[in-house]
Symmetry: C4
Subunit: 247 residues, 4 copies
């Protein structure tokens, strides 16, 4: 049987891959971050130092407690918005991985009052309308939109509730999963579903969305099939990986 230490080694390896895959699939650009809960200590999580996801390596991965204190910082700069991760891990024991990014097709839905809803069965995990976090409700009208502290992180986690995705007005989205692979799957297909819903809306006709039962059933089904796309995403991300230029 796998020890918790072995499990954490695998999670860290997958976390590096997740950074590369999310960048390669266009869900994150120079910004955005992904974390995974520790198996050894479920009140700790792993996340990269402040760096573009496409460049993250195992050496960049840091361990934090749920007060967002680094266990062994070694001078590495943390992400400013790490509170997104800790506050969700606190209230969602089912969640093992959290992704925050600026998913380009999703941001327009966060700024609009038109809801993001599941139009493709690949995004059944959306189930129905995706909640939108308006930072003005908690932080007032004069924030810089960032989740800079635990109070804002807690408010975001509350808005997420039991859902899989929460949109952040003027900012991006946060996506969760019961594993790194599942969270990556959710982040990628949230982006694709947003594109498809926008396309369907502009056709100008009546749209049939997935109903709640359809969405829930197919969402569970795909959560079991994440290894299939992960295999190709991983190969593509590694083949596109850019070595740092020499000295």
């Amino acid at each position: 049987m796998k020890t918790a230490e072995q499990e954490d080694s695998e999670r860290i390896a997958d976390l590096v891959l997740a950074n590369r895959i999310l960048a390669d699939q266009g869900v994150v650009d120079g910004f955005g971050h992904v974390s995974v809960r520790s198996a050894r200590n479920p009140k700790h999580y792993f996340i990269a130092r402040s760096r573009a996801p496409a460049l993250v390596t195992a050496d960049d991965i840091m361990e934090y407690d749920l007060d967002d204190q680094p266990i062994d910082s070694r001078g590495r700069t943390p992400y400013l918005e790490r509170f997104i991760h800790s506050e969700i891990y606190k209230v969602r024991p089912d969640v093992q991985s959290v992704i925050h990014g600026h998913s380009p097709a999703v941001i327009p839905f966060g700024a609009s009052d038109v809801p993001l809803r599941p139009i493709s069965h690949m995004a059944g995990f959306l189930v129905r309308e995706v909640p939108v976090f308006e930072i003005r409700a908690t932080g007032g009208n004069e924030t810089d939109l960032l989740i800079r502290n635990k109070a804002l992180g807690a408010a975001l986690a509350q808005k997420l509730g039991n859902a899989t995705v929460v949109l952040m007005r003027g900012h991006g989205d946060t996506v969760v999963g019961q594993s790194i692979k599942t969270a990556v799957f959710h982040a990628i297909y949230t982006e694709l579903n947003a594109r498809m819903e926008a396309e369907a809306l502009r056709l100008g006709g009546k749209i049939t969305f997935l109903n709640e039962i359809e969405a829930a059933k197919i969402g569970e089904q795909f959560d079991k099939l994440v290894d299939r796309p992960w295999e190709i995403w991983k190969i593509q991300a590694l083949s596109h990986a850019q070595p740092a230029p020499g000295p």
Copy 2:
């Protein structure tokens, strides 16, 4: 003269290429599948094991009878929705190849009541309005949208009728051809036609679609010209192919 065995060898080689081409052209992603009827036994068909199309090799190709039983499974996992293929082969003796995928520009038309129609002569094979399969009509309101059994496969085949493409609400599309190359051509240009029709609709003016005679005539013409794009699609797919990472 070629024997049926030689013909089947060629079909299997083309089937592997078709998987790679459809992925390279963005018609399938980590999911989707393509099959070809056996020349030796027209009541059998070939299709990959459950795997991302971009990674399919000859070793992944399995043979099935029209009851969807594998001839020599060797422990390989089948696609859950293989019934799409068998049920169409049963009722469409002219069809030699079937493609199912989640063609991104096509899905919005499957969810909308705005019909997909031929606006580009490359997609004359659409002839006129493309039928839409609503799974609720056969499976009720509580399915997971997948074609999980022969009843659903038969209903889909019936909705396809004599057409070349059938849209599947909230899911994707299924495309047929009198050869693998023709089916691939149909799948790729269905996607392109969907993009162009959506663009034309948003211009806001009056649109002139192909009439039925124009569509039928040019559709037949292009069915004879599939080798020209196949040559470049094949070269591109092979040059983009990603080797699996080493051990």
Copy 3:
């Protein structure tokens, strides 16, 4: 001084590059063709045999007279629609190069009654509304949309008139230039202008297009600057070129 024979050698080299560039820039796919008038004999023109433009080499280039008879066919298959080229060279002595393709953002304008107009100064050569060729006016309602004979070619050339671009309903467009480089420039920026006009239209506000004097002046200016983008298009096309797979 350069002889006409040397000039023709250079034109053929540029013609091969033009095929590669147009494919690399997405203006042609597996179909489409580009020709150049002969300097030695202005009643002859050069064009590839029937082949995907991305794969055209010097060996594929054939010479035709304006009756579309090949000078030395060597068994190579001609493009079905070569009449587009000959009929334009007949009536437009200023034109040295003709491009026909299925430019994806342009086709929606050919199918819509919303005119394609210059919104970007890069496309000043459009000057004002681009003419649309409706094959039904000449060929009736039962064609296959192709320019299959000299009568249809002549009607298309007449619709082009003194313009630089003519749209072909349900089919594509044809673009001309006073050199290969200029024609390629025109084809690429016609596609980009179509995308930008479609985007501007969907913003929903009032649009200011180039007026005729602005368009004519900047069009002439860019006709002198085609070497600048040609240099980078050429390098990109050659670096993306795919060798044919070995035997």
Copy 4:
């Protein structure tokens, strides 16, 4: 401490990279240019000779005074529109770098009366409505749209005012920054914000843009974080760089 000469060497190296990055990110194509003010002599600036940005090397960089006279031309052809740069440097001492290009998603906003506004926090530097330069107001109705002289450059600089971006009707945009990296950041996220605003508009609902305080605060924040995306943009641009074909 760094001398002004050392600082200028670094600025020239970054200027070459900026050319490559802007081309790689699709903000400039065969045209467009970027400049940096000299540290040694703030009344001089550096900019490439007339060449496609993707191909610019250190040998292409020229030095100009604010009368747009080259210091050591060595026969290199200047950009026709260098007046954009000098006139902005004259009236904006805070500006160290200027970018002019034909950013494809931005041009539709320049041609429309729908304002470009910050919808994504990445583009907080837009603060509120982006000014639009209508050349007809200064140059009349018969220009070729180019900034061909100092009078037009001065009018453009005046329209820019204290903003970060000015749109140019029918032409493109001009973007400034307090460093090369910041200007590149501004140019790239202006393009992305334009895409997202256009997408949000087409959803058809009510949109919440960043208010002025949110925009100003997050704009300042990201100006401090430009090294993070610059690292990955640089690696990508260098890895996609195309060597010139051999002799």
